[in-house]
């Protein structure tokens, strides 16, 4: 397989050199130089990011990403272990990030004492991050 890929790469390089037109540019999909009909390389082992103090947001209304592993977190009908640290009551002790006021309102905007049941499943908006490079750079600017 590897020799096939390198042969392909070489021939690709040769072709590019041959055509040397100013308009020619290599166009790669997210598979890079691996063809649609080939097998991609194996995934490296991934690890969740662990960042003290959290990860900066890109813009005001972005839900913060989770700066720690959540493999052991459980959210079910009967428990929400995120709130074990992050609820208004518990965060004073744990020093975890406290949910903003928006989370203490009903769908219609009425104030609530407890976190809104419509926001019960935290992972709909907040997700952990793996240590990995972007597949493609993104030039969004806020």
């Amino acid at each position: 397989m590897k020799t096939l890929i390198s042969t392909l790469l070489l021939s690709l390089l040769a072709l590019t050199l041959q055509t040397s037109s100013v308009f020619a540019e290599p166009v790669y999909s997210l598979r890079g130089t691996v063809g649609v009909d080939e097998l991609s390389e194996m995934i490296p082992n991934r690890r969740s990011m662990a960042v003290d103090g959290g990860i900066d947001v890109n813009f005001e209304d972005q839900p913060p990403v989770i700066p720690h592993n959540i493999d052991k977190t459980r959210i079910t009908l009967h428990e929400n272990s995120c709130l074990g640290c992050h609820s208004k009551e518990n965060q004073k002790i744990t020093n975890a990030v406290r949910p903003p006021k928006s989370h203490y309102r009903t769908r219609e905007g009425d104030k609530l004492r407890q976190i809104s049941t419509g926001r019960y499943f935290c992972t709909q908006c907040h997700v952990p991050q793996a240590y990995t490079k972007p597949l493609v750079n993104n030039d969004f600017k806020n």
């Binding site: 097998l39 991609s40 005001e60 493999d71 019960y120 499943f121 992972t123 997700v127 991050q129 993104n138």
Partner: protein
Amino acid sequence: MKLSRRDFIKSQAIAAAAASAGLSLSATQLANAKSNDDDDEDIRWDKIPCRFCGTGCSVLAGTRGGRIVATQGDPDSDVNKGLNCIKGYFLSKIMYGEDRLTTPLLRKTDGKYDKNGELEQISWDEAFDIMAEKWKAALKEKGPSGVGMFGSGQWTIWDGYAAAKFMKAGLRSNNLDPNARHCMASAVGAFMRGFGIDEPMGSYDDLEHADAFVLWGSNMAEMHPILWSRLVDTRLTREGSEVHVLSTYTHRSFELADNGMIFEPQTDLMIANYIANYIIQNKAYDKKFLKDHVNIKKTVTDIGYGLRPEHPLEVKAKNSGKGKLSNMSFDDYAKAVSKYTLEYTAKHSKVPADKLERLAKLYADPKKKIMSLWTMGMNQHTRGVWMNGLVYNIHLLTGKIAEPGNSPFSLTGQPSACGTAREVGTFAHRLPADLVVKKPKHRAVAEKIWKLPEGTINPKPGYHAVLMQRMLKDEKMNCYWQQCNNNMQAGPNVNDEMLPGWRNPKNFITVSDPYPTLSAVSADLILPTAMWAEKEGAFGNAERRTQFWRQQVPAPGDSQSDLWQIMEFSKRFTVEEAWGAEQVAKMPEYKGKTLYQVLFKNGQVNKFPYKDGTVKDSDDNVYQNDESKHFGFYAQKGLFEEYRRFQTEGPKPGHDQAPFDVYHKVRGLRWPVVDGKETLWRYREGYDPFVKKLNPNVKKGDVYFYGKKDGKANLIFAPYEPPHESPNEEYDLWLCTGRVLEHWHTGTMTNRVPELHRAVPDALVYMNPSDARKRGLRNGSKVKLISPRGEITTRVNIRGRNKPPKGLVFVPFFDARRIINKLLIDATDPLSKETDYKKCVVKIVKA
């Protein structure tokens, strides 16, 4: 927007001033007031529907200097009330992947088109030259069936309408199908068979009105997160509320389930029939409702699996592809379902009897209002039309339908699968507003509205999604244009039924896309495409809500919208080339004209003049409209207003939408819209204005299913039939595929948002720990997944969000580096032609 304390006080002051003056300000006005006051923060805020799923959330897009700089949930939207899911919050980044395509690219060697050449930048002129040359050659050799277009449920309404008009009226070819065929066709089939009109009778408001929710093959927690949050809200606040979840594996929606049920693939057909049987045995059916509003029918059986006709399973099937209905008495129906006893169903489905009975009791309880919800688990099913129908049967038996909280609700996958693919009629057999090509009356309506000579529209349905790929491979179709989707990654059986057709030297493949997808790099010609906020658009969501947006920013480089591309390409054909002299002779005034002149400069589409600076919001902010500027008329408005005529002049009532300008002012309206009012529940007097209009005798609160001639819905019996393939000695596992919350479809947009990529970087294989152990595998082990059709490598996940039972594995399809669809079989529902993405056989070995 940076909401500093000063801004907050300011916005509160503005809101308070407005309130004391008796005004209510919209969220955009408030946001604009906040930022306009601040010199260095001149961000313009405007509403725009989310680019991703069928929920149709509204977001506010903040623009500065021709770029989107922020997005936030739209508090004024009834759908999402300011909330978004993780994907929605990152919409601001989807247009800014560094590898945006900015010029047309053609495969060339030595300056000439060569299928085996390298991609080189060319001009739009050269792109359309070569494309027109190839298309004209194919038309000449094969006729209209020699060319085809594959579109999308992510097309805007006018993209789809223009494509339908170009292909069906322009080229007289019905070879136009959307990727919605892969996701919604079974739902459409069942709506048409059961009710005669497409799309749900209820609305999202049912989520706040229902007592109980039953998920049939839908993982709403990940795929429709905002609707899920509304459902969760009801479950956790309403007394007695309960949630039942049916699936072939445990997923995130089970976290809320009071009654979670894992069934053996395909046995959902038994479970639905068992519930009907339970309701009948316990006399819990609504006799009067059945008598007044329902016809009982049965469907032809042994209908095959939508495979190639020479496939042994099709040869063996007695009624391959047939869907004929015949009448059935209630007693015969009761007898037919009596086979599906609790014991029988529990044994075959492997769902414990007490769980099944709990579900049946729920449906049978006259005091419980029930919302049934489903998506791909039921649609991507070789008996998808049947299965959709079996759930309607339960609601019809009990009369729990078309009223607040009683609602069988087919959720859509894509943002405009309803608004564009279904309503505009971009399917190979359809025309706008539920009309079909095979009915002479329907064709006549289209020919009249489109000002075409009689007989222009081809009466023969075209090639559907899967058939198009087969026809490319078989050289029956030589030109193919794909817009707004990534079928090379999303279509089934990539190795055997997709790649060969694309690589065939006789075929010319064009792909329009903003990014170099697997489809784009597999094409001969790539057209760089303006996306989402780079064009004026309209989507229609799953609750019949039509939502518009204005063009927020310019597109990069030479990118142009799908609409621009279709209209511009139509200039390349004369009517003589497209229709033949005989057809042109019927309307000599068209002689020598181009398709562009006949289809788009027809006095209707070009009726509304356009001048730069005339598209404004209520705060007088000015927006561009690149297509209208180019063509010299307000193209989107002309197309929409012409399309609206199908809703009122066609033989199918009840599709009315509001005039174009209205939609730019509101957060969408649910059709039918009559006298400016939207419709939340159809077919019931008091909610739906068409009921009284079409049957003056209907009493208040009663139903009238006006999609059918006699005003009655069809309850359609269908039995269990086995799946197309089942695990065997060699391929000993079921493979189920699908999405994940963090990515949209093939990840063209979301894989380019670093936060979303880091959230879920790879498509892993989710499997049962005991299946893993049996193969000497652990969490994280490297494996190869192999089916008779293809293979991928990945790693094992036994602790993640999806927990399959023994014998089944799940792999998502967003990851371009692991094309899981290579493993799939191209079996479809024989009626809807929708692929079964949920069931095929695989084996797993150490890699």
